[in-house]
Structures are given as structure tokens and as C-alpha cells.
């Protein structure tokens, strides 16, 4: 029971779930779900990066003397990754809006996949 519900297991399965949801959304045809998918994948990757320094209980990432300490480097890395991810997400939202404005469609290809059905929908 203890090994089945260990912290590592919970994190790994949770990460897998979030990443899978992100990849599913990224493969959708509209820009909004694609942006959401990119964000979800970004979250999964960021948490994954933190866990690469191993998981720790009651261990601050500061040298305190004798007590055990957590690895601080992945936390520094993930901070950089979060900042970059935030900026790029902002940019991709703006680009998607602009593309919607230019082409009149929020499909990633810039036009409706089936023109006949799109016209029927408008009517």
C-alpha cells in the first residue's frame, strides 16, 4: 500500500495525466484548445523538472549544517522555464488572436476545414 501510493507514484501518474491532456488538446483544430494544451504540457514539464532533483521530505534547499537538504538547482532551472513559458504563452495568445482577426477563422490552418459545412453553419 505504501509503495503503491508513494509520493513518486502519485506524481508520476499525475504528470502523465496532465501531459496526456495537454498533448490531446494540442492536437485539436482550434487555436484556443491548442494554447491550453501548450500551457498544460508546460505545467507537466515544469513539475517534471522539479522532481528531477529527487523528492524530499522536510528538507529545505539551503545548506543548514548537518540536516539533509533538497537539491536547489532544479528549482532554479524551473524558475527560468516558468518565466520563458509565461512569455511565450502570452505571445502565442496574441498571435492566435491576430491570426483570427486576419483570416476570420480560429482554425489553426487559417480557414475552415470544410467550406460547405462552414457555410451551412453560418446559415
Amino acid at each position: 500500500m505504501n509503495t503503491l501510493l508513494s509520493l513518486e507514484f502519485l506524481l508520476a501518474s499525475g504528470l502523465g495525466l496532465v501531459a496526456a491532456a495537454g498533448i490531446y488538446l494540442m492536437l485539436r483544430g482550434r487555436t484556443f484548445p491548442v494554447v491550453l494544451g501548450l500551457s498544460l504540457l508546460g505545467y507537466a514539464v515544469n513539475v517534471f523538472l522539479v522532481t528531477m532533483g529527487r523528492l524530499w521530505h522536510n528538507a529545505p534547499p539551503i545548506l543548514t549544517g548537518g540536516a539533509s537538504v533538497a537539491d536547489p538547482l532544479p528549482q532554479a532551472l524551473v524558475l527560468t522555464a516558468i518565466v520563458i513559458g509565461f512569455a511565450t504563452t502570452g505571445f502565442v495568445i496574441e498571435l492566435a488572436l491576430r491570426s483570427r482577426h486576419e483570416s476570420g477563422s480560429d482554425h489553426v490552418d487559417g480557414h475552415e476545414p470544410n467550406p460547405q459545412r462552414a457555410q451551412a453553419g453560418e446559415r
Partner: protein, 533 residues
């Protein structure tokens, strides 16, 4: 003067990054009202002068670094004087210096061309151009894998905005594809880096290179996974099969100077593959030695073949050149995948040449398209161009260089790759693919040239006609093309330099010693909670 030289020598690696960064900031502060005749007509002129001066200075510094690096010394720059595996190091060896020089050599004519009018068709072109250069230079000099990721992001963010420079529906649509693909690749990059850190406990390239050799069992398997994930990431940047489909449409939709600058972007992917898969996971890496070599050669040869088939089928000239980019990357990586100093030297020589020619062709395509009226660069009969002799000769020179006809350097590069594969088991594949690809490149470019210059429709527009091009647009294109010819003249010293570069790359022990020093620091890595030994 002497003090200035000392200062430069001491800080050269970081200055290659700081110079474009500072220039970009200055250009942002100067502002850009958008358009040649904005509120203050002078500001465009000032921006152009600042921008060109900075790139010229960058070129000088790159030449200086190549001269300095050719002695074989590794210039290691520890940021903030932190000792090597803990702080970030920048490192200029022969390969980095060569790539810096190539970047500056492409950037200067391209910027000159852009000053002919493209830079006013959107805002902040010059600032973005310099941010792009900052990312490129940073990626070439960094000695830290996570830092490589950061510089990749810098150059990508600049390229996202440059791609949609000039705007238009087509560019925004392609922009969405390009950005989403690259963001997904960035996520993969981070996963790969996480795995490298988890198994080796470091991200310093020299330290990783040293530690992968010690990995065994599960850790070695995880590191192998990391190597393959990183190959996917770099393969996407370099446009390796099956991740090349984004490139032709994206490059064809970008404005000419941007596409020409992007010719260097695929080479960042190639450079990273050489550094990470060629050196770190390639030489003396214990269980992981040449772990991706089995994948790389078939993929590279397929890329080369599919790229040239795309060029044959291309509906317009921009796409044709974009497919030739894919094809040339395939040829370069085939050389890299042979894992010998001779092949690496050949691949580097071919990289220099193909980047220059592809950049020149992207510019030339726009020159031709501008004189064909509404037909633009589509490959169908149209009214004649205004300057058929000049443009035709430039096209002929570009086509002969790209296809690798003797005595142009493309021929030398391909010959060296063929020679390097002599006696290897893959020789038959390499020879047949490289030779057939060269032949098809000639056919594709000859078809384009024949349609553009000979299948001419008489038209009344001739009477009115466009004016010929200004020297501001012709000259940079001609300079890029002629640089290719100059490379053939300088083949012997260049070959000596690339030979020495390949030799230096394979000397992993010297690389590790230069970065980490003689005595290994006492640490526990990867950190599992035990006290330091």
C-alpha cells in the same frame, strides 16, 4: 589601444552576446514609428546606421575570435568567476568561432539588403534582428546545456516576430504553426535536460561529457532516452526527416531577408547535434557511445532525398529554395553521422558554403519575383524580368553553387563527404544519395531558371515596366553569392581550419580539462542526499 585589446581578449566570449543585446536595447530606445516617412524621417536612418555598425563590429569580433581560436586554444569564460561545474561557462573553440563568423557573414549582407526597404514594412525590425543574433551567438558560445535552452528560446522568440514581419494573412497562419511546433519542442527540450540532470547531476557540457561514460544500467538507459529526446528537438530545428514538413511553407512565407537569416537557424540544430550527439554522447561515452548514430545516417540521407524531391515539385521559387535548405541539411548531417574527423571536417566545410548560397538564393528569389509583376515567384510563364542578364547570371551562379558543380565550393564539400565515406559500410548509400541529390538539384534549378528567364510572355507591361533594382538590393545578394566563389579560392586554408576543428572536437579530454581544470571538485552528483565525499 593595448588595454582595449586586453579587455576584448579577456571578455570576448561574453561580448559576442552582449554586443547584439545592447544594440537591440539601444534600437528599442531609439524607437520605430513604422514606415520610412514616419513622424521623424531621420530615425530610420539612425537605426540603420546603428544596426549596420553593430553587425560590422560583430563581424570584426568574429574574425578576431577565429584567428585567436585557430591556435587551438579553448577560450573559457566563467561568468561571475564561479568555478566550472557550478557556474555557467561560455566556451569558444574552433567550432564556435567558425559558427560565429558564419552568422556574422550572413547577417551583414542580409541586413544591408533589409535596409533597402524591408525594415520599414513593420516595426522594430532592427531591434528584433539583433535579438535574433544575440540568441544565435549565445547558442554557439555557451558551454552549458540549460543555457543552450535559454539561448534557443531567445533566438526563437525573436524569430517568431521576425517571421510575421511584413504581416499578411499567410504569415500569421504560418506563424501559428511555427510557434506551436517550437513551443512543443521546447517542452521536449526541458524533458531531455531534466533526464540528463537526473542521471549525471550536472548540465555543464564538459562535465556531462565526462560523466555519461560512467553511467551503467538504468541510468544509462535513461541517459539514452535523453539523447534520443534531444535528437528530436535538434532534429526539428535542423529540419530532419520526419520533422521537416514545417520548414518549406514557413520559410516561403517569410519576407526575403528574414528567410535568408533563417538559413542560419537550421544550422543551430546541426551545431547542437554535433556538440551533444557528436561529442557528449558520441566519443568515449561508455555504454552510450554513438548511441544515436544508427538513427542519424538513414534519417539524414532520407532528408536529403526528400528535400530534393520537394524542390522538383515546388510550385514557386521560394519553396524551391526552402526545400533545398532541407536537402542541404540532410547532406551536412550525413557527414556528421559518419563519426570521423574527416567526415566532420567535410560537413563543416559544406555547412559554410550551403548557408551562404541558400541565404543568397532567398534574396535573389525576391529580386526576380519583384520584376515579374503579379506572377511573383510562381513557376509559370510570365512577362520577362527587367534585368534578365544580371539576374540570370546570378541565378546561374547560385544554382551551380547549390548543385555542387565544379569548381564551386559546393562541389568540394560534397567531394570531401564522399571521400570521407570511402571504405565504410554505408559508402554505397552515401555515394548514391549525395550524387543523385546533386543531379536532381541541377534539374530543379534548371527548370526554375528556364521557366523564369526563357518561357517569357510578351506583355504590354513591358512598355511601362518597373524600374530596375537599386544597387542597395543587388549588391548584398551579389556579395553573398561571390563569397561562395571566394570560398573555393580559399579552400585550402578553410580545409585546414575545419580539419583542425574536427580534430579538436574529438579531443574530449582536452575539452574537459580546459573547462573543469585539473583537479576534480569534490561533490556528490547526482545528489541523492548523501554528504559530500
Amino acid at each position: 589601444m593595448g588595454a582595449l585589446m586586453d579587455f576584448w581578449l579577456q571578455h570576448a566570449p561574453v561580448l559576442t552576446v552582449l554586443l547584439p543585446a545592447m544594440t537591440a536595447v539601444v534600437l528599442l530606445l531609439l524607437g520605430d514609428s513604422g514606415g520610412e516617412h514616419g513622424h521623424d524621417g531621420d530615425s530610420v536612418g539612425v537605426c540603420r546606421r546603428v544596426s549596420l555598425t553593430s553587425v560590422a563590429l560583430g563581424l570584426l569580433m568574429a574574425v578576431g575570435l577565429v584567428v585567436h581560436a585557430s591556435s587551438g586554444e579553448l577560450i573559457v569564460y566563467r561568468l561571475g568567476e564561479w568555478p566550472a561545474p557550478f557556474g555557467i561557462v561560455l566556451l569558444v573553440d574552433r567550432l564556435s568561432a567558425l559558427m560565429l563568423l558564419l552568422t556574422a557573414t550572413v547577417a551583414l549582407p542580409v541586413l544591408w539588403y533589409a535596409c533597402g526597404g524591408w525594415d520599414t514594412r513593420g516595426r522594430y525590425f532592427h531591434a528584433l534582428f539583433h535579438f535574433q543574433l544575440m540568441g544565435l551567438n549565445g547558442a554557439f558560445v555557451t558551454g552549458d546545456l540549460f543555457n543552450l535552452f535559454v539561448f534557443f528560446e531567445v533566438l526563437l522568440i525573436a524569430s517568431y516576430v521576425l517571421l510575421v514581419h511584413g504581416q499578411g494573412r499567410e504569415r500569421f497562419c504560418m506563424g501559428v504553426h511555427y510557434v506551436v511546433l517550437n513551443l512543443a519542442a521546447s517542452a521536449l527540450f526541458l524533458i531531455g535536460l531534466g533526464l540528463v540532470y537526473a542521471t549525471t547531476g550536472t548540465l555543464n557540457m564538459a562535465d556531462v561529457a565526462q560523466r555519461v561514460a560512467l553511467l551503467q544500467g538504468d541510468d544509462a538507459t535513461l541517459a539514452h532516452v535523453a539523447a534520443v529526446i534531444l535528437l528530436v528537438v535538434f532534429g526539428l530545428k535542423a529540419a530532419l526527416v520526419p520533422l521537416y514538413a514545417w520548414l518549406p511553407a514557413t520559410y516561403a512565407s517569410a519576407s526575403a531577408p528574414v528567410a535568408a537569416l533563417f538559413a542560419i537557424m537550421t544550422k543551430v540544430g546541426v551545431y547542437s547535434i554535433v556538440r551533444v550527439h557528436g561529442v557528449i554522447f558520441g566519443i568515449d561515452a561508455g555504454a552510450l557511445t554513438e548511441s544515436v548514430a544508427g538513427w542519424l545516417l538513414p534519417l539524414a540521407l532520407t532528408t536529403s532525398a526528400l528535400g530534393v524531391l520537394g524542390a522538383l515539385a515546388a510550385p514557386n521559387m521560394a519553396r524551391l529554395v526552402a526545400y533545398l535548405t532541407v536537402s542541404s541539411v540532410g547532406t551536412i548531417l550525413a557527414g556528421v553521422a559518419l563519426y570521423s574527423t574527416q567526415a566532420w571536417s567535410a560537413a563543416l566545410y559544406y555547412t559554410l558554403h550551403s548557408t551562404l548560397v541558400i541565404a543568397a538564393l532567398f534574396l535573389l528569389v525576391e529580386l526576380i519575383a519583384a520584376q515579374r509583376g503579379d506572377t511573383c515567384d510562381r513557376l509559370q510563364p510570365a512577362p520577362a524580368v527587367r534585368e534578365p542578364v544580371l539576374l540570370g547570371l546570378m541565378m546561374l551562379l547560385g544554382a551551380a553553387s547549390a548543385a555542387g558543380l565544379p569548381p564551386l565550393p559546393g562541389f568540394l564539400g560534397k567531394l570531401m563527404i564522399l571521400e570521407a565515406s570511402h571504405g565504410l559500410s554505408a559508402q554505397a548509400w552515401v555515394w548514391s544519395v549525395v550524387l543523385v541529390v546533386g543531379f536532381f538539384t541541377i534539374i530543379g534549378l534548371a527548370r526554375a531558371g528556364a521557366i523564369v528567364f526563357w518561357h517569357v510572355q510578351p506583355s504590354e507591361a513591358d512598355a511601362v515596366g518597373h524600374p530596375g533594382h537599386s544597387a542597395r538590393l543587388i549588391a548584398p545578394t551579389a556579395v553573398l553569392l561571390l563569397l561562395g566563389v571566394v570560398m573555393a579560392g580559399l579552400a585550402s586554408p578553410l580545409k585546414r581550419y575545419t580539419d583542425a576543428t574536427a580534430q579538436q572536437l574529438t579531443d574530449k579530454a582536452a575539452y574537459v580539462r580546459a573547462v573543469l581544470g585539473e583537479g576534480a571538485a569534490s561533490t556528490t552528483r547526482p545528489y541523492r542526499g548523501e554528504p559530500a565525499r
